[in-house]
């Protein structure tokens, strides 16, 4: 078959285009080319870690206008163990997983485990406890839900604490529901409520202010420890972070961080 010149040129162009495409698809990658996140981090000398900017005591603005908290200390420890610098990136609940997937951050802190999330990110072992507990002054003896009978309990309306304590509290427990944590804390510190149900983060924030009535944890209602997360498939980075975590648990630095920021030592089996 003999083609005219113009048709031959057109066919050659099509062939060139098609083969480039084929080669590109077979050998290239969809997205920025990256061999392995861990290698990239070591080469760049910087690890980008996403943290919340207002989530005390994990991260909050200090009086000297710098971000400080459990997560900040954790990020610094991770960077030191990797031999790189830590770059803290502020994230929100909405954008953190997209940031991770797009490579804007290498790892996330303060992320709780869920099956839906596990489909898009890889979790490491937990690095910080996060739980909801019934808290009250030393003198009141409460060991379990049954002891809530006849007590006044302050709780933030509509939160997980509210639904959980409503589920387990006996019928004659007086559950006071306030609009926000300020109401709950005011009620507890003024003695209007004998007990309160809050997360350990709120408990730590109160303890840090050295209040007149010190909240002591009575019993846990729900626990969902904070994990670190890396982009799906980055097993190298995931394993390295887990190794660093084991090291920190062994040398006690993780426990020191917990005592410093959460005012409670880590549980023995953490």
């Amino acid at each position: 078959m003999t083609f005219s010149t113009s048709r031959r040129i057109t066919l050659l162009q099509g062939f060139a285009l098609g083969s480039t495409l084929a080669i590109g698809l077979l050998t290239g990658r969809a997205g920025p080319a990256s061999a392995d996140a861990l290698d990239d981090i070591t080469k760049a000398g910087v690890i980008k870690i996403g943290i919340f900017e207002d989530f005390p005591p994990f991260a909050s603005l200090g009086s000297d206008m710098t971000i400080q908290g459990y997560d900040v200390d954790m990020a610094e420890s991770l960077a030191k163990a990797l031999g790189v610098k830590a770059e803290l990136v502020g994230i929100t609940g909405q954008n953190r997983i997209p940031f991770l997937a797009e490579g804007k951050v290498d790892a996330l802190l303060s992320i709780g485990f869920s099956d839906e999330r596990a489909q898009v990110v890889d979790f490491t072992d937990p690095y910080a406890p996060y739980y909801i507990a019934v808290m009250g002054p030393e003198e009141i003896a409460v060991k379990g839900p049954a002891d809530l009978a006849g007590k006044t309990i302050a709780v933030n309306r509509g939160t997980l604490e509210d639904t959980e304590v409503t589920k387990v509290a006996p019928a004659d427990a007086d559950i006071q529901r306030y609009n926000d944590y300020n109401g709950v804390i005011s009620a507890f510190l003024s003695g209007q409520a004998q007990l309160m149900v809050v997360g350990n983060d709120v408990g730590a924030t109160i303890l840090a202010k050295d209040p007149a009535i010190k909240p002591v944890e009575k019993f846990l209602l729900l626990t969902s420890p904070s994990n670190m997360a890396v982009k799906k498939g980055e097993t190298g980075l995931q394993q390295k972070l887990n190794e660093i975590l084991i090291g920190m648990k062994k040398d006690g630095s993780l426990n020191d961080m917990a005592v410093k920021w959460l005012k409670q030592p880590l549980a023995a089996d953490f």
Binding site: G158, D162, R177, Y178, S190, Q192
Partner: protein, 222 residues
């Protein structure tokens, strides 16, 4: 609009809803009774009292009228325990509402007293009645008849303001609304129903008190 109205989600909460309405009406009734009674004494003191007593009443009225009700409530409920005075949320709510209503009612009743011609009081004294009796039997009925609509309005305002006590976890109508909303996530339906409930209670209360007024003050030129 992607929101679908679903009023049936609220159906199971009827009992709670009625209880909340009952608490609101109960609080209003107690606050109104004590408030009006105290305000009559307060108005008389402001009008004819000794120098220090008058100053006290005026200071009290100015303080309450120029600060927000929510702040007054929070002070009583969260602040007083620091001074050793601790009371339940319900007691704090009644106290705050009474104090609030009394302050505004004192001004209203005082205006009523001043609207009664001075000749009435002079005539009463000239007939040999003791000043206190003149006040109770001659001046006060006329004063109240003159300002009755304003007093009714103030009581209605107090009932609507009582929504604020939901902030200290008193199970009034608004607190029930917040609770239902936090369980069903149906903010539009919940607050729509609650607004209608307050509207119905206000209109009903006003009608009731106006009817009572025309009986109480029968025969007055109005």
């Amino acid at each position: 609009m992607g929101y679908e109205l679903d009023f049936s989600a609220l159906a199971g909460y009827l009992g709670l809803f009625l209880r909340g309405a009952g608490v609101t009406l109960g609080l209003t009734a107690i606050a109104a009774t004590f408030g009006i009674a105290l305000s009559i004494g307060g108005a008389a003191t402001a009008r004819w009292g000794l120098g220090w007593a008058r100053a006290l009443v005026i200071a009290y009225v100015e303080l309450i009228r120029n600060t927000p009700f929510l702040v007054q409530l929070f002070f009583i409920f969260f602040g007083l325990p620091a001074l050793g005075i601790k009371m339940t949320a319900m007691q704090a709510a009644i106290l705050a509402m009474t104090i609030n209503l009394t302050a505004y009612a004192i001004e209203i009743v005082r205006a009523g007293i001043e609207s009664v011609p001075p000749g009435q009081r002079e005539a009463g004294i000239a007939l040999g009645l003791k000043p206190v009796k003149v006040f109770i039997y001659v001046v006060l009925p006329q004063a109240l008849a003159n300002v009755y609509p304003a007093l009714v309005s103030q009581i209605i305002i107090t009932m609507l303001e009582s929504a604020v006590v939901s902030q200290v976890a008193v199970m009034d109508l608004t607190h029930v609304a917040d609770y239902i909303q936090s369980r069903t996530y149906r903010a539009f339906e919940t607050y729509f129903i609650i607004a209608l409930a307050y509207l119905a209670m206000a209109v009903g209360l006003r009608w009731l008190m106006t009817r009572a007024g025309s009986r109480l003050f029968a025969g007055r030129s109005r």
